[in-house]
């Protein structure tokens, strides 16, 4: 078996800034996004259905990833494949999984699992959690065992029995044989990504954006989980995550609510946008005030256009798409475009043409970019804490984001117009 090296498995789609891990769409996201998105799915579907969906989505896309990585490193035996799965899980910043299972099932023991650990860190002192948080790890563990022993997708049920988010000392996942086989959804890989992107275009400040994006990609290529299997940087816990997981739980939840509670679709979509908003505000903000950023780019100016340009560079480096600045009028209007997004690729591949723009991350990100540009005093070295976020947004966001063009709707590019509410 060859050595597993994360950086050699990662690549970007040329000029489109979509990222792949062993050919599987991947993107960097922080714990703020991960926790808020999972929480929104819980709010929409309730804990039981949500956990079922999140575990299933994790299983599906982890299965593709583990198979692809095993093939590349030539892992052939079940122990080798299980080892590869645990290595890749930790390298991507999801924590440590210890798998003790065979084709008849077994146990997965987790330590510092990203979701449970980060939830406990962020919310543990505020509220009591009554349901386990690590559906992603559960689905991943099930997929690892299925791949290792050549089992059909869904033949291994995974149930987290104890979770640090519920104040247990560790996370324990039971793996048991299941007759509830799952269908693998249609492919969403590099080929589909190439099919569902528009012609790449340049926007304002490209001379600033492109070299920074390249530098950040270089920087992140060396980033991998620490001894805990976590990536703690820029004031957040970062994961390299499977885009398919995010997409499937978001769009399947919306589809379910359209059927069962259509009056609640709007509020669900608002919360999905908020996931993008909280993510970009905290993670991008944290990156911008980090010593690493200062080393790469220099001190931050209180120049809104430059802050927007920096955000475009960060978005590209994290694999969110080729974000460009189409228009900018300080304190009034910001128009962002992209020829590619992990959301539109998935949606078009799985659902076809959408009736309305449903690129929630891009919408929330555009709104947050305008906030970072206009409402943060950068020379004052702000701390991107939950208190700071609450202080800025408890009265709502004084800007409005409207998606005016969308690849999911058949347009060649996606566009979000952000305007200040007068």
């Amino acid at each position: 078996m060859n050595e597993l090296k994360l950086s050699s498995l990662r690549r970007y789609l040329l000029l489109q800034e979509l990222m792949f891990m062993a050919g599987q769409p991947a993107v960097y996201h922080c714990h703020h996004f991960n926790l808020f998105l999972d929480q929104t799915i819980d709010d929409a579907l309730g804990p039981v259905q949500s956990r079922k969906l999140r575990t299933s989505a994790a299983r599906e896309f982890a299965s593709r990833l583990i198979r692809a990585v095993c093939e590349r490193v030539e892992a052939q035996t079940p122990p080798e494949k299980l080892q590869v799965a645990c290595q890749i899980f930790a390298a991507m910043g999801h924590g440590k999984l210890d798998l003790n299972a065979d084709a008849q099932g077994g146990k997965a023991k987790g330590s510092h699992l990203h979701y449970g650990f980060a939830w406990h860190e962020k919310y543990g002192s505020q509220v009591r959690r009554r349901d386990p948080a690590d559906a992603f790890a559960s689905g991943f563990a099930a997929a690892a065992v299925e791949v290792a022993f050549g089992l059909t997708l869904g033949s291994m049920a995974a149930e987290e029995r104890s979770c640090v988010a519920m104040r247990a000392s560790g996370c324990d996942i039971d793996l048991t044989p299941s007759a509830a086989l799952e269908n693998e959804g249609g492919p969403v890989g590099e080929a589909e990504s190439k099919a569902y992107v528009g012609p790449p275009e340049d926007g304002m400040c490209e001379e600033l954006i492109q070299p920074i994006a390249a530098g950040l990609k270089e920087f992140t290529s060396g980033v991998a989980g620490d001894e805990r299997g976590l990536v703690q940087a820029f004031g957040v816990f970062v994961t390299m995550h499977l885009a398919g997981y995010y997409n499937r739980i978001s769009y399947d939840a919306v589809a379910a609510i359209e059927q069962t509670a259509p009056q609640s679709v709007g509020v669900l979509e608002d919360l999905l946008r908020e996931s993008g908003h909280v993510c970009v505000f905290n993670t991008f903000g944290g990156i911008l005030v980090s010593p690493e950023w200062e080393g790469l780019v220099g001190p931050l100016p209180n120049d809104p256009l430059k802050i927007v340009a920096f955000c475009m560079a960060i978005g590209r480096a994290l694999g969110m798409g080729r974000w460009v600045i189409a228009e900018f009028e300080p304190e009034k209007r910001l128009v962002l475009r992209t020829s590619s997004s992990y959301e539109s690729v998935y949606y078009r591949a799985r659902h076809g043409i959408a009736k309305t723009p449903v690129e929630y991350l891009f919408q929330g990100a555009a709104l947050a970019t305008a906030q970072l540009a206009h409402r943060v005093n950068w020379t004052g070295k702000p701390q991107f804490t939950p208190e700071y976020y609450k202080q800025l947004f408890k009265g709502g966001v004084p800007w409005r984001a409207v998606q005016t063009r969308a690849i999911v709707c058949g347009d060649p590019i996606s566009e979000v117009v952000v305007t200040k509410i007068e």
Partner: protein, 191 residues
């Protein structure tokens, strides 16, 4: 504080940094006094003190150890807090941490005797349960700016309706309360 005799008394209590009178059961600030230089939000402090006393009361009842005379003392890093129920109010004292406990008890007793004469005897009117549920949610939910949206998604009730919680019908109130319990990880709301 409007009563000058009380205010003068408080000024003379050594080590006393602030006093908050919370009207129960709504946990609303009734009166407050802060020594010059303190910049607390009286409304926030009052509501949390009220909730704390309520939770303490329920916990002691569960232990069959509750009595009307109970007093909560909290020894924080740089302050000493004393909370006490007085008829329909909770009175919270904030002292310097260095204040001797015996002196603190003495001053608390003296001030409470004065307050007993000054505080109104009429029970404050209880506001609609929906309002109190909404306030409780906004006070304790993480990411409070999205709390009503989350409750709307969980309950199936529109956000606009939740913004007027006093108008909720009884079955909506049940759904709203259940969603708030779920968001906060509570079995029931003791409001």
């Amino acid at each position: 504080m409007t009563d000058t005799s009380l205010e003068e008394t408080l000024e003379r209590v050594p080590s006393l940094r602030g006093l908050f009178v919370t009207a129960m059961p709504d946990c609303l600030l009734f009166q407050s006094w802060m020594r010059d230089g303190e910049a607390w939000s009286g409304e926030d402090v009052a509501s949390y003190f009220g909730d704390l006393i309520r939770a303490n009361r329920e916990g002691l009842k569960a232990l069959q150890a509750w009595s009307a005379e109970m007093q909560v003392t909290i020894e924080a890093t740089d302050s000493l807090l004393v909370l006490r129920e007085v008829t329909d109010f909770v009175v919270g004292f904030v002292f310097d941490r260095s204040a001797p406990l015996g002196m603190v008890r003495l001053h608390v007793k003296m001030v409470l005797a004065l307050l007993d004469e000054l505080l109104p005897r009429v029970k404050p009117e209880q506001r609609p349960r929906g309002v109190r549920i909404a306030e409780f949610l906004l006070r304790y939910a993480p990411d409070a700016h999205t709390a009503l949206q989350r409750a709307a998604l969980r309950s199936g009730i529109g956000v606009d309706m939740l913004k007027k919680p006093e108008q909720l019908a009884s079955h909506q109130l049940e759904l709203f309360e259940r969603s708030v319990c779920d968001i906060l990880g509570l079995d029931a709301l003791k409001l």
